[in-house]
Amino acid sequence: MRLQYPGNVRVLRFPCTGKIEPNYILTAFERGVDGVMVAGCLEGGCHFLEGNLRARRRIERVRQLLDEIGIEPERLEMFNLSSAEGPRFAAIATEMSQRVARLGPSPLRVKRHKVEAGIQQMREEGEAGLRGEAG
């Protein structure tokens, strides 16, 4: 399809949004990301029945925590789309990227190379988890 989405988006894979721990998202913010979008399956279409519905409630809790911490909750959003909706993914990524750009950089002001290294580490740990490796 040769679709494009903003180059500043980094993708971390999960078997299901229901697998995402609240602290995982907070850790991404601690490492300095400007925003997080959680892309779950369509509601009613979860392979594990209600993983994405549980994720939505957890995401709402993390938004409340961000507010308490002093970080704009709008920097975190969950979207629902099917894996066949490439154009929609690109559109959502663009919309989220624009929203975060309007909000400006993360108030934690972490240096860019440190953010990249932090996210890369989270990705490697996550991928190791997907392969069933310990740690």
Partner: protein
């Protein structure tokens, strides 16, 4: 079990912000079960506090995390004791008993509460806990069909209900069930309504906190002097 919930992050942040090294200490018993102060919540709060401190320019504060099995027993505190010297302060995610036990064990280390201890209660449904016991030290559930008028009636009436009971609801809060309606319904179902005709004697509150902090002693079990921690 003891039910608690977490204090807001700004309140905890302001308690610990003047320290340089803080240990967040979770408790693996009651407050883990009520999702307030176990290992997972300690992890979340640790990440949140590090960010909150950085946002007020206190990014040098080290916030580490640890969870022990029970803060209300010295044997479990001893496991973490060797680490405490490395910190200026401890923020406990235990109940009020845990916080005070840590403070007694570590006289030179400030200990702060990360939770608000609420009550002795039960898991009503997933994510919902309800108060059931006032810990009065003189249980009279047998007189009231198994429903406690002290913890379930907002006015703690021993000879209820009052005139504020409407359609089984309490006048104090509309969503609150009338404790005395519950007592009546259950006594009725058990066929012991006659029991409620007797006037309930006033309660002896000397066994509750009104008589000062309480102590339970098992003569056949204790070792050493009662009142002194070994």
């Amino acid at each position: 079990m003891i039910v608690a919930d977490r204090k807001k992050i700004p309140e905890i942040r302001d308690m610990i912000k003047e320290h340089d090294r803080v240990l967040l200490l979770g408790c693996g018993t009651c407050v883990t079960v009520c999702l307030a102060g176990g290992e997972r919540e300690v992890g979340i709060l640790g990440t949140a506090l590090r960010m909150a401190l950085r946002l007020i320019g206190r990014d040098k504060v080290v916030v580490d995390e640890c969870t022990i099995e029970r803060q209300c027993e010295d044997a479990f505190i001893e496991i973490v004791a060797p680490r405490i010297g490395a910190y200026d302060a401890v923020c406990s995610l235990g109940c009020g008993a845990g916080v005070q036990n840590l403070a007694e064990r570590f006289p030179n280390t400030p200990v702060y509460p990360g939770l608000n201890t609420q009550f002795i209660g039960v898991l009503e449904s997933q994510g919902v806990w309800t108060e059931k016991c006032a810990a009065c030290g003189n249980c009279r559930l047998g007189e009231f069909a198994g429903i406690c008028p002290f913890s379930r009636c907002a006015k703690r009436l021993l000879n209820g209900p009052c005139g504020g009971s409407q359609e089984g609801r309490c006048e104090v809060r509309p969503e609150l069930e009338c404790g005395w309606q519950l007592i009546y319904d259950r006594a009725s179902a058990l066929g012991i309504l006659g029991k409620l005709e007797a006037i309930a004697e006033p309660h002896d509150w000397s066994t509750a906190l009104d008589g000062g902090p309480r102590k339970v002693v098992r003569e056949d079990q204790y070792i050493g002097d009662v009142g002194q921690k070994g």
